[in-house]
Symmetry: C2
Subunit: 346 residues, 2 copies
DNA sequence: GTGAAAGCGCTAACAT
DNA sequence: ATGTTAGCGCTTTCAC
């Protein structure tokens, strides 16, 4: 067995083996500079470096060039079933385009988020996809201050300070509300997500305004706030809802996890879903089809979300002309009717 | 607005601002070298670099030191619900220990896997956690040849060539088999995972040997192979099972996804689960509690899996004496009885 | 078309 | 206790 396990083969080694200069090797191996080198030498270099097992050291390249061919993605939490599909999509795409995706997790903690974004930028990522923004968010400012290409997905800050790709929350809530209204519901509650998160706020606003459009008066369309987008928060919000508005026949939860928590609590007090009360979610998390109470919900265009974010980010990185002004893309969700909704009892 | 957005602040800048040398700044900021510097200077440097917004460039450090404080983890696919919990666990732990985790995906494709591991090593990760090994796997060889610290989790190659942390498949199958046997089942089938994956093979072997222990003859304990650990493969395997062994009253699937596919097919031909036929899984994927047919399965000690792998890897990286010989850790799964199993019909 | 030399930002000798 | 120098591996002027 060879004893140079740890010895790295460098351009120098390849150059020496070929009796040429490191610069030539470098050029021969770089697609953008190959044209400066004779075909014969290119071939020689390619064969030799392959043979010697040469792989360029990305650290050195990055240090020299300032670009890393790496993009960073921040998500709150990989355990939240919404994110794996999005990460997958984005990973596939960036990879295909020659970039490496680095994940960072914020745990929905703004301080941690800032630390992590600092780390990403210190590591010289070429750009950042932020799927964890709060409405006021120092991470966004940090990226912008440092001139880092940035796109926000799904959750955004209040002003259009960078590219954003969003799901049309209003349309989603509209579809859900209409679905329930057509079933005959006239007392519909909303379990809202945190106000500090754009999707929480915009779904809440959408709900209020759409209730009005359908001539459902505010006291027949109560809103309860959940403190987080989690099962437990949904359960707790539902306790309050049941106490304060026992008359509601349907609940639009701001996401699937809240809806699950809601169902949990409803069943705990003996309600039958959907007969006693209809419940809807938002996002269409994986495996919902398999659930005991398959949730009626609204599904995200995950592929487009990923696609758009990557494209926008790359156009920023390449400084394409169309990236001169922040852009906002609004993607459409799709109603998925399952078994958690039906006509109101009686 | 300042126009030096892109300008990186370096040790040199901080040193210049303080009228001292870069090395002193470097030392003052490095925990291991601080003791070589006067307390007064340390304080000065810390304040100044904070004030100037200095962050070390990890590329440069890596290039110089040869170590990146980065560890790589390879998983087949982030969409497989087994992996997020494991990734989460490992991520938390490595982060706490000052390491950054980089993920790579193999899509269960050996060639892609090799490419990815090469990339990780080219990027100079300090070690690799491999959760995607095949029984014969060039990725393992590649790591070993390059002297990279490596631990295999959950799926391993045939020989003990590096540290491994495993779930005790035999124990898991035993618990499931015993559970079904006690319920009265005497015709139990196994839907096996691919033979090329260690967990597929070892669960199959476990099944065969345990059937024998319980004096269930081989023709009352048929084994059907699925081509992958997926829902679809489970469905297809079940078609064959139903044709060839209509008499079975219970199925032990090699993992949850296979079990789901199995259930899908059984229901497609009008069977009622668990009354007509009991089905069990393996792994206890998230949200199983919520499922229409909550799966009886065996749950993995995810925390320990993550914990052990990280510890072992770090002990290799630090070249602790206990890492001189490959170690194999066998963790115990736990039976989780839900609603997909009951006494055999009639 | 190719080589020599400098430098990205950092740290580890080797001075002093 | 601190400064000076060199070099990690690469790319890129600038020469020829």
């Amino acid at each position: 067995m060879d004893n140079d396990k740890n010895k790295r083969i460098t351009v120098k080694d390849v150059a020496a083996a070929l009796g040429i200069s490191p610069s030539t090797v470098s050029r021969a191996l770089s697609p953008e500079k190959q044209h400066l080198v004779s075909d014969r030498v290119i071939e020689l270099v390619e064969k030799k470096s392959e043979e010697m097992g040469y792989t360029a050291n990305p650290m050195a390249t990055a240090l020299k060039r300032g670009a890393t061919k790496t993009i960073g993605m921040m998500i709150p939490d990989i355990l939240n079933p919404i994110f794996p599909p999005l990460v997958h999509e984005i990973q596939q795409l960036t990879n295909k385009l020659g970039y490496t995706l680095t994940l960072a997790y914020t745990e929905n903690n703004q301080e941690l988020a800032l630390e992590e974004v600092k780390r990403l930028i210190a590591r010289n990522v070429d750009g950042i996809i932020l799927a964890s923004a709060f409405r006021k968010d120092p991470t966004v400012d940090y990226c912008l201050d440092h001139g880092k290409p940035l796109v926000q997905v799904n959750r955004v800050i209040d002003n259009l300070a960078s590219d954003q790709v969003l799901v049309d929350d209003r349309e989603g809530i509209y579809q859900l509300f209409e679905h329930l209204y057509k079933l005959g519901h006239r007392h519909i509650a909303h379990i809202a997500g945190p106000n500090e998160i754009s999707s929480g706020l915009s779904r809440r606003h959408a709900f209020i305004s759409i209730a009005d459009m359908f001539d459902v008066s505010p006291d027949h369309a109560p809103v309860i706030s959940a403190r987080a987008f989690s099962e437990l928060a949904g359960k707790d919000a539902t306790k309050i809802l049941l106490k304060e508005h026992p008359e509601v026949t349907a609940v639009i939860a701001a996401n699937d996890l809240l809806a699950l928590g809601c169902i949990e609590e409803l069943e705990a007090v003996g309600k039958i879903i959907p007969n006693d009360i209809s419940v809807t979610g938002f996002n269409d998390m994986p495996y919902l089809d398999w659930f005991r109470i398959p949730l009626t919900t609204v599904s995200l265009p995950q592929t487009q979300l990923g696609d758009q974010s990557v494209r926008m980010l790359l156009s920023q990185i390449r400084k394409d002309s169309d990236s001169a002004f922040p852009r906002k893309v609004l993607l459409q969700p799709r109603l998925v009717v399952r078994k958690s909704t039906t006509t109101p009892r009686k």
